[in-house]
């Protein structure tokens, strides 16, 4: 497999414009609410969020700190349950699923990349990549595995343990792990948050490539307008609500909305 030509980070790509309106929905949330704490200290982390995530689309979720981005990710990735509303992964509504079914759903349908501590320290890079498959007792498709490994450029590092890898390499392994089981949808919560811009760009290119070449659905939380510019769509959250949305974003458009939101936040404060 060849790595597709990807744009330089300073020059965000033209988004895949050929998205069809008829594309089916990979995941969908309806009327999602989640509150933490009670009484005086009550926090509405999510307040009536409704959102569709289409297959083969690369979506960014942006918003100020504490706006509920991570909470939304966790709900969608079946790591937590909403207080109210529905979460659909494909044709499955997770609200009524027990722990076992949720776990299997995560294993089969969802890939996840965290900001940090993505890998099991006792396992090699290769074992980490294959973890979701081997837990499920499934054999990897060797061609696909090779393809993924080559895409993330880790062939030489497969036998290494996480503490022998750099931060960027760790995140690439994590991406490979999220992709290798061909999940319906991959969630990434600030995957480049801890990386320098070069390593960050590599990871973003990876995700972009997965979407372009394999029709993978990816949702990513980010603070960085440059990162958002890699995406097909940006959803803006503030105070647990979807406040804006942008298709085919470029850096400046994103920055503009972010500034507006910050001003609005300050005005309302």
């Amino acid at each position: 497999m060849t790595v597709p030509p990807t744009p330089a980070p300073t020059d965000p790509p033209a988004p895949a414009a050929q998205m069809t309106a008829a594309a089916d929905v990979a995941a969908r949330v309806v009327g999602l609410r989640k509150t933490y704490g009670r009484g005086e200290a009550v926090v509405r982390a999510l307040d009536d969020v409704t959102l569709e995530l289409r297959s083969g689309e690369f979506t960014a979720v942006m918003g100020p700190s504490g706006s509920g981005k991570s909470t939304l990710m966790h709900m969608c990735a079946a790591l937590d349950r909403p207080d109210e509303g529905e979460v659909w992964i494909g044709d499955t509504e997770i609200g009524r699923l027990g722990d076992k079914a949720l776990t299997l759903l995560r294993r089969e349908e969802i890939g996840f990349v965290f900001q940090s501590f993505n890998l099991v320290p006792t396992l090699t890079a290769e074992e980490n990549v294959l973890l979701p498959l081997s837990i499920a007792g499934r054999r990897p498709d060797p061609e696909w595995f090779d393809a993924v490994v080559d895409t993330v450029g880790l062939r030489e590092r497969l036998g290494h343990k996480p503490n022998e890898l750099s931060g960027g390499q760790v995140q690439r392994v994590a991406v490979a792990r999220a992709l290798v089981s061909r999940p319906r949808i991959v969630f990434a919560d600030e995957p480049t948050g801890n990386l320098d811009s070069r390593s960050g760009a590599e990871v973003l290119r990876l995700l972009r490539g997965a979407v372009d070449d394999h029709g993978q659905t990816v949702v990513m939380v980010t603070h960085d307008p440059v990162a958002a510019a890699y995406c097909d769509r940006v959803v803006f959250l503030a105070d647990g609500r979807v406040v804006d949305e942008l298709r085919a974003p470029d850096r400046d458009a994103v920055l503009e909305i972010m500034t507006r939101m910050t001003d609005a936040g300050e005005a309302s404060a």
């Binding site: 704490g37 200290a41 966790h74 990735a77 790591l79 937590d80 722990d99 076992k100 776990t103 299997l104 995560r106 294993r107 089969e108 996840f112 965290f114 940090s116 501590f117 993505n118 890998l119 099991v120 320290p121 006792t122 396992l123 074992e127 973890l131 979701p132 081997s134 837990i135 499920a136 007792g137 996480p162 503490n163 792990r177």
Partner: protein, 850 residues
């Protein structure tokens, strides 16, 4: 926020509780063992002190084999003469008989093999130690129809004051009486009879029953006036004593009996001491292990402190302060738990006949000192190493996600362990063989130190030794259990030091269990072989309590239908140049049955007044047929003519064999020890039925054929092995708790990782399986190491004592397999709680954990 803070505090609290728990266990173990051995010693001391007066006047000479009083007596008139001595406050005559059994309400004799069943006359003579037996309830017995019992016996036999109590008498007419229980005796100031039973009668009744009505005593206690020493009084008394009677000070007499008894229990106290030492080591491992983990987990926090400007000394001091607090708290709780443990030990020993219930627990200051020394010192040392490791690395490094603390090199540790191991082996060789006996007389210490060094050496080497095992297990796990197995295997390899330190507690427990299994099995095999070789005749009639038989029994047995012949055997101790010599005596039938090979002389030459000697014994003294052997026996000095010299014979244990008449003339009581019965050809069943009928109403006489006799002997060994197993059970319990502790802490330590695994699809069941597998590796590793060491110890121990009647070395492989299987069970059980805890972790919270 508040909830999060509370949770983090709670998590930390749990860690604190668990490391304190390790200290509590370690300390409790040491305290329990110490209190129990103190209690055991105290109860024996009380017993000795209560068995002597200021001055004891007694016949010179031998005692019976069972340690009973000499059959020579002192005239009653001597009591008044002694009481009239200027230095004497009073004098009291004592009648003592052994083999006086209380029959309980179910018709069974009370007591067991070992502790004597005593009959005494009632007197209130003050014992030298001032802690004598005294009436604690009811009234003293008066007349032939009343008796008193010791409290413990009365309770276990189910009698209360006013009940009628049947009592079996050792010999003569009658052989059984019934009397009303009027009072209970005991040690008002604490003390225990250790399982002996007491029947107290008034003096005329005791003389009537035990001394054939003679107005006499077995010994006399003379009490000194104030200001008169034991030595002065003994000297005064010696002046008016007839030949064959001596006066000894109470201290000397107590030492004699103490020596005898302490000899008998020395094995037990030594074992308990070794056990306390080992418990100390196991406890320390537990504490060191837990504390290393605790500090390692805090290394980031400590690094942050360093980054904020705290000096190394400050950081180490803060860890030490925490260790000290935990040490004090843990030791205090451990002290309390240790007392409970001692109570449990006492109950355990009561099960096998060592009844200390009359003795309250002895709580000496040294126990408290030991508890705090162990708890605080070990914790301080345990906390020091990881704290030093933490401050040695740069603060920035520790702030990273995956902190790897520098560890002393495993290779160096391995070399140190190897050195200890080799030293231990050398020490074992020195202890178990007689190579160094000419240089130093400390075989026991060499052996003990050797065992300890080998254990410590193996523990130090085990992280390296265990690598191949852990690697192979990982591969096997991965093959059988897939990814979950691989994860579990990797986890056990992640920190081989921790894995092996946790396993070492189990290793030590199983080493001892395995050693003891081999000792017990070899002892049984040796006994079987000995019985096979020296069981003569068809049936053996004996007293299962180890006492004597009524001499009339032999004639009754001979009269049973189908019995062809009956041979009697008796044992006694005589003094030869101040040393005790064991004698055996038998009759014509016995001599024919034992069939010794005569080197000199002939069987018919053995008549009253002569002896037959074993070859070695005769050669040592350069004696041959016609020469004379001079010994002191209850009747005084006797000279016996040598009638023959025989080859070593498995049936004849003693170096000297004589006739029954010779023993009786020597003043030994007329009582048989064993009757060997030969049945007429083809009349075995008839003879057996007749014998069973005969002994049916004799609770202290049993009839056994060879199989039964062997089973009986084996049962005694089993009982002994059982005590040791029970003690080891405690050690294993501690080991299990150690595994639980380590696993639980490592679950806390790996919270984030567990969250991650759950996030990528590990089910709760898989997580539990992973932790269980991890636990099983630890347990099996410990068990394997323990079994290997135990085999080594057991076989070399048995090899070392092969000359002492234990020639067969037998390894109970079945039992060893059971131990290994048990280790798997232990592993599964130990994982239960930590695995449950891990499975219940909330995925998101786990991932978010710092």
């Amino acid at each position: 926020m508040i909830r999060a803070a509370l949770r983090s505090l709670l998590a930390r609290k749990l860690r604190l509780v668990m490391s304190t728990f390790a200290i509590v266990l370690g300390v409790a173990f040491v305290v329990g063992t110490l209190i129990f051995s103190d209690t055991l010693n105290r109860s024996f001391t009380a017993l000795f002190a209560s068995t002597v007066g200021d001055v004891v006047v007694r016949p010179v000479g031998g005692t019976t084999e069972a340690g009973g009083p000499s059959s020579a007596t002192l005239p009653a008139a001597l009591v008044d003469e002694l009481a009239a001595l200027p230095g004497a406050a009073r004098a009291d005559g004592n009648v003592t008989a052994i083999g006086v059994y209380v029959v309980d309400s179910d018709g069974k004799a009370v007591g067991g093999y070992g502790p004597p069943a005593l009959g005494l006359n009632d007197n209130d003579a003050p014992a030298a130690g001032g802690e004598g037996l005294a009436l604690v309830a009811g009234e003293s017995p008066v007349g032939p129809d009343e008796l008193a019992l010791d409290q413990v016996t009365a309770e276990s036999a189910g009698y209360q004051i006013g009940d009628t109590v049947p009592v079996l008498l050792p010999r003569g007419d009658p052989d059984r009486i019934e009397a009303t229980l009027t009072g209970l005796v005991g040690f008002p100031e604490g003390g225990s009879l250790n399982g002996a039973t007491l029947v107290v009668l008034d003096t005329p009744t005791a003389q009537d029953l035990f001394l054939d009505g003679e107005e006499a005593f077995n010994d006399i206690w003379v009490t000194a006036r104030d200001g008169v020493s034991q030595e002065e009084l003994a000297a005064e008394a010696s002046g008016l004593l007839p030949d064959g009677v001596e006066a000894v000070t109470g201290d000397a007499a107590a030492d004699e009996s103490a020596d005898e008894l302490l000899d008998a229990i020395s094995f037990l106290t030594t074992f308990l001491l070794i056990f306390a030492g080992i418990s100390l080591v196991v406890g320390s491992f537990l504490i060191v292990n837990t504390f290393s983990m605790l500090v390692a987990q805090r290394s980031r926090e400590l690094a942050l402190l360093r980054a904020l400007g705290a000096s190394r000394v400050q950081v180490v001091a803060s860890v030490q302060a925490e260790a000290a607090v935990l040490g004090v708290v843990g030791s205090t709780i451990g002290l309390g738990l240790g007392v409970l443990l001692a109570v449990a030990l006492r109950a355990l020993f009561a099960q096998v006949g060592l009844d200390l219930s009359g003795q309250s627990l002895v709580f000496t200051p040294r126990v408290v000192v030991a508890a705090y020394a162990v708890g605080i010192l070990v914790t301080a040392v345990a906390a020091l190493a990881p704290a030093l490791r933490t401050v040695r690395i740069a603060p920035v490094q520790a702030l990273r996600d995956d902190v790897a603390l520098p560890e002393a090199s495993l290779a160096r540790r391995f070399r140190g362990g190897l050195a200890l191991f080799v030293l231990g082996c050398l020490s074992l060789v020195a202890g178990l063989t007689d190579l160094l006996d000419d240089v130093v007389d400390a075989g026991g210490w060499f052996t003990g130190a050797g065992v300890l060094l080998v254990l410590l050496g193996t523990t130090a080497m085990s992280p390296v030794l265990a690598q191949p095992f852990l690697g192979a297990t990982r591969r096997a796990y991965a093959a059988v259990f897939g990814s979950v197995g691989n994860l579990a295997g990797q986890n056990s390899l992640r920190n081989p030091r921790r894995t092996t330190a946790t396993a070492s507690a189990l290793m030590i427990g199983l080493t001892l269990a395995c050693t003891m299994a081999i000792v017990g099995d070899s002892a049984k095999a040796s006994t079987d072989r000995a019985i096979e070789q020296n069981f003569v005749g068809d049936y053996v009639v004996s007293n299962p309590f180890g006492g004597e038989l009524n001499p009339a029994l032999a004639d009754q047995v001979a009269a049973v239908d189908g019995v062809a012949s009956v041979a009697r055997e008796r044992f006694a101790l005589a003094q030869e140049d101040g040393d005790a010599r064991a004698l055996a005596a038998t009759d014509r039938a016995g001599l024919a049955l034992f069939d010794p090979v005569f080197v000199e002389g002939a069987p018919d030459d053995l008549v009253d007044g002569t002896v037959v000697l074993k070859e070695d014994f005769a050669a040592d003294r350069d004696l041959g047929v016609g020469d004379e052997l001079t010994v002191t026996v209850p009747a005084g000095e006797q000279t016996w003519t040598v009638a023959g010299v025989i080859e070593d014979n498995p049936v004849i244990f003693t170096p000297v064999l004589t006739t029954i008449g010779t023993l009786e003339a020597g003043g030994f009581p007329a009582a048989d020890y064993v009757l060997f019965v030969t049945a007429e050809d083809e009349a075995g069943a008839t003879a057996r039925d007749g014998l069973d009928d005969l002994v049916a109403d004799l609770p202290v006489v049993s009839v056994k054929d060879q199989q039964e006799f062997a089973a009986d002997q084996r049962a005694q060994i089993d009982q002994f092995v059982l005590i040791i197993y029970a003690l080891l059970g405690l050690a294993l319990l501690i080991a299990v708790l150690g595994i639980v502790n380590t696993l639980a802490l490592s679950v806390i330590e790996r919270t984030r990782e567990i969250g991650l695994l759950r996030a990528v699809g590990l089910t709760r069941g898989q997580l539990r399986r992973m932790i269980t597998l991890e636990s099983v590796v630890i347990a099996v590793l410990g068990a394997l190491l323990g079994v290997v060491l135990g085999l080594g110890f057991g076989v070399s121990l048995m090899y070392a004592v092969r000359d002492q009647g234990l020639e067969v070395i037998s390894v109970p492989f079945g039992q060893v397999a059971v131990f290994l299987l048990l280790a798997v069970v232990v592993g599964v059980l130990a994982a239960f709680w930590p695995a449950r805890r891990a499975a219940r972790l909330d995925v998101l919270e786990a991932i978010a954990t710092e």
